[in-house]
């Protein structure tokens, strides 16, 4: 099987890449893209959020079969060292991360939101960012999303 990840066509070993294998484990264990995190396995926490054709999806419950022919983008390609995504800059300005484990998913969820709602209201942020952070970075995430939206 082949899937498009971060702009590149990636081949997955046939003996392992079964259609029902969740995208999360293919990214992490077959492709070595460990920026996408495992948190719950039941789409409840959002740590595994990636973009599929621009939409935020939870990779732990997304079968490989469903992303064939679609574009998968992970945290590794949200920005680049020289050109960080505006949200990544806002994350630094607002000193968002603590343990950092949930932040890949938070950033991907926020980036998908801003892509469709460039100036989201508080209610739209509440509705879009349902990921869990045990370090309680929520107030800073809200502030950083607003800052990134304002900066665009």
């Amino acid at each position: 099987m082949e899937i498009v990840v971060n702009g590149a066509l990636r081949a997955l070993p046939d003996e392992l890449a079964e259609p029902q294998m969740p995208l999360l484990w293919a990214l992490r264990d077959l492709l070595g893209l460990t920026g996408t995190k495992f948190g719950c396995g039941v789409a409840a926490c959002g740590a595994c959020t990636v973009h599929v054709d621009g939409q935020a999806v939870r990779a732990c419950v997304t079968p490989l079969a469903s992303v064939r022919g679609k574009r998968v983008v992970t945290i590794e390609a949200l920005g680049s060292p020289g050109r960080p995504h505006p949200l990544q800059q806002a994350w630094a300005e607002h000193q968002v991360p603590q343990c950092g484990y949930c932040q890949s998913g938070m950033l991907m969820a926020a980036a998908a939101l801003l892509a469709t709602r460039p100036s989201p209201s508080d209610a739209e942020i509440d509705a879009a960012i349902t990921n869990i952070c045990r370090c309680g970075t929520y107030p800073r995430i809200r502030a950083a999303i607003r800052a990134a939206a304002a900066a665009r």
């Binding site: 392992l16 948190g39 945290i75 990544q88 994350w91 991360p97 603590q98 869990i132 370090c135 929520y138």
Partner: protein, 765 residues
Amino acid sequence: MKRRTLLLSGLGVAGALVVGWGVMPPRPRLGGVDTLPVVEGEVGLNGWIKIAADGSVLLAMTQSEMGQGVHTALAMLVAEELDVPLARVRLIAPGRDRIYGNVAMFVSSLPLHPAESGPEHGGYLGRSGQWVVAKVARELGISVTGGSSSVVDAWEVLRFAAATARAQLLGAASLAWKQPASELTVSDGVVSHPSGPRAHYGELARTAAATPSGTVRLKPPSEWKLIGNAAPRTDVVAKSDGTALFGMDVRPPGLLFAAIRHCPMLGGSAGTVDVVAAMKLPGVERVVRLGPYAGSTAALAVVGRSNWHARRGAEALVVEWRQRPAGGLDSKAILAALEQRARDADANDGGFVFYSRGKVPPRGDAGGPRSVTQVYRAPYLAHAAMEPINCTARVADGKVEVWVPTQVPGLARALAAEVAGVPLDAVTVHVTYLGGGFGRRLDVDFVGQAVRIAVECGGRPVQLIWSREEDMGHDFYRPAAAAVLRATLGEDGLPSALQITSAGDAITPRWIERGIPGLAGPVDTPDKTTSEGLFDQVYAIPHQRIAHVATRNGVPVGYWRSVGHSHNAFFSESFLDELAHEAKQDPVGYRLALLKDAPRHRAVLLLAAQKAGWPGHGPVRPLPAGRARGVALHESFGSIVAQVVEASIEAGVPRVHRVVCAADVGTVVNPGIVAQQLESAVIFALSAALHGRIDIEAGVVRQTNFPSYPMVRLADAPRIESHLVASSHPPGGVGEIGTPPLAPALANALFVLTGRRLRELPLTV
């Protein structure tokens, strides 16, 4: 047993070694030039600091970064004394020397009342106890990140190590240039003399290593450039672009993956296992039977080519699970029994007395002064760190390599060596970033499991990842607790007497048994964590008896962010609020009246009240209809925090809109990180206060994942403000201190809204 006897004979956690300390020479914690291994171009100056050829400072980092910002804060201490930019400090792994052991955490495990500890009080008993434990802890050299002790422990040690290195580097320049050291200046790691010569640290290091430091002087606060500033965290970029390496992100070549299924019944075991279906699945390599390791329940592991393949294999195992011989655990029955034990001990003056003064009046004194008696309860709680429990291990050629997000690398090493049957020196432990710890990663059960699995993997590395369900169902839980609180009010409405009798499992003896078995004693010494937040209150209540009944219920219990304070502050600060209402007095004013001799606590409470617009303390902040305020004040880990919560009830559910925190954390190293930690602790405590409960039936934990163990999410997060009281005291703890006051402050606000006093967590209206 009396407290005094305990202190002199038991000395808390380190008691078993007290007898031996006198014959061991005291070891300073500076270390020597050869304590740290060096590669070409590096020069070791002491056990903490090496200088690289380009002048970078390499700092041995003993503390695990789990979100609390310790990698930034400790690097700041060193950068400050060495006059280098923070970015020039690079972190390296420490070796196994005893200088890296955490002394402050062990000292703080002594059950001392504030009147007996603290430099400003100077009680002889307290100081001598602290001195002895410090000596013992230095000998033990146990590296621990916990107890909010990282900066407390490093404060003198790291600044002294850096200042010593600086003095040697200046000495080297002084020798080379034949100029007095007093005329040299340092800027950004470059030493210069007004007459012209200049050199960076890398050019001076080799001579410096052989140059005596002379008298080392720490910078006075007036010269600090970095300490006290909100320097950006050094880990933010890596934690925003996916490159930060957590435990389950390590990818050694040839990596295999392991999934685990514990016996669902806590403490149970596995009987017959049918592996046929599992082994038929593609990508499944082997099944490994796991006994108990460092307190874990027996389990089966399946090794596969990806985590998903391993997990499918684990799900396909057909296992005959066996209940533990003593029968299935039941949390409801345990809580009922705890309440009964507390009531009995309250009636009979039982339990271990952690603090007493004056004389508490007898019960049921009809016709006497007003008295109030109430019972409070708290459930078991899971840690549920975002990164599920995991460990990666390789056992090959008589050597063991472990990659693990842990708060106790030394204990991980010891268990890995034991399980693999190799000497300690054959084990290398790599500590990764921790995707949250909160105390769960003070246990090393999963390290034993991973090494055992790796032994079966023919030299290939294997990464064990617990599912969220295994993580939640096989935690070391915050112990359930119950307490009877009884107060007598005087003519002025203030409490003249306070008796608290609590019951619940002691954590420390169980943790020592499973993590440091060599230190476990034949009997449990009283554990401060059971009564912290109850026996050590500073309120001026003349008659007190604060006791605890330590139980052993069989549920695996562990340290949970703020430990005993997490529920004891709910008991003590909710009860005090009850007394204020009983006396028809303002809750802030009531507390202030009891804090006449506690100026630091007064200042914190007043700051919170003022910033929250509490009536009577500056401009009043009018509240929207349907909202109310509650307040709580609590000291823990050497710091003092007050919180004012603004709450309402929406659709029958409590909602918190705003939390104003005021804190005295002593000298502040990085106010930005302090604010982060206060926010973090508030949200963490709010999840517990609103939702947190672990129920156990027939030995099985009923909560399995976030849908049944819910967390506060962004939409529910309140506005949080943090305000710090300026202080020149040495640093106190930061990471846990904001957790204890939240639940009582919220419960106190809900009382104003409903007139109903909530005495059990989680809070339901």
